[in-house]
Amino acid sequence: MYTTTQIIQGFLTGSLTREEAMHKLHMSSYSQLLNALADRGVEPPKPPPEQVRAELEAARPILRMMEANRHGS
């Protein structure tokens, strides 16, 4: 894996972690990596389904509270 394209491809396919890709590309923030992806017309990788489910589960009480407030007002 030599080129920046190969490094980014490695990140997108999961063979490199976000931190590994950023280290190889001399980046200090994830936003720089996102910019590099956008520059190439590439969407950032989607998080794994279990992470999405966990995040939704964590947000559920807040959503319920917002819904209750909406009906109560």
Partner: protein, 194 residues
């Protein structure tokens, strides 16, 4: 069926010339093509450019490995009398335009799967259309590749050396493949990393 031409814009030439590392371009196992307009820019010496003698020596020392190609804008430019040459200040992107003109020439003349590699620093080059036969790479992306191959110890140190020579390279890791290059083709396939 691979990288057939390396085509540096004036930015990478000046960056590497600043730290006397034009030899990093010599490692491409293919001809190095410099358009007449880009050659003029580095030989004339833009503000902040290394002495033109660095480039003259490099051109001379590499014989036919380095080819200077004529373009319409270069021919027009050479026809302008020296006292009228301040007009260049009003011509934006003259070097990039000459490369664009050259890319039109090679568009239909290269073999299937063959392509050229444009090295550049100007950010507007990212959105310029050089046709399906040119891949694009920034100097910073090139340096990261050299670091990964072990050709230079550190892209960061290299960047700092150039900065100390009063030249700033944008840290932009942009690279774009040529549409008609074979899938998976990489400039590193044609680069001497020994």
């Amino acid at each position: 069926m691979a990288l057939e031409l390396a085509i540096p814009d004036s930015g990478p030439l000046m960056s590497l010339g600043r730290v006397a590392r034009l030899d990093l371009l010599d490692r491409f196992n293919c001809p190095i093509v410099i358009t007449d307009m880009v050659a003029d820019e580095v030989l004339r010496g833009l503000p902040g450019a290394p002495d033109a003698a660095v480039f003259r020596d490099w051109f001379r020392g590499r014989g036919n490995r380095i080819q200077t190609v004529e373009t319409s804008i270069g021919i027009l430019w050479s026809a302008i009398p020296p006292e009228r040459r301040d007009i260049l200040k009003r011509i934006r992107d003259a070097g990039e335009t000459s490369i664009w003109q050259f890319s039109n020439t090679i568009r239909e003349t290269m073999g299937p799967g063959d392509y050229g590699l444009l090295l550049f620093e100007e950010s507007r080059v990212k959105t310029m259309d050089f046709g399906p036969r040119l891949a694009k790479i920034t100097t910073w992306s090139f340096l990261i590749g050299l670091e990964e191959m072990g050709v230079i110890p550190s892209a960061e140190d290299f960047h700092r050396d150039i900065a100390e020579a009063n030249w700033i390279i944008p840290k932009d890791p942009f690279e774009h493949p040529a549409e008609r290059a074979e899938s998976g083709a990489s400039w590193t396939d044609m680069y001497d990393m020994t």
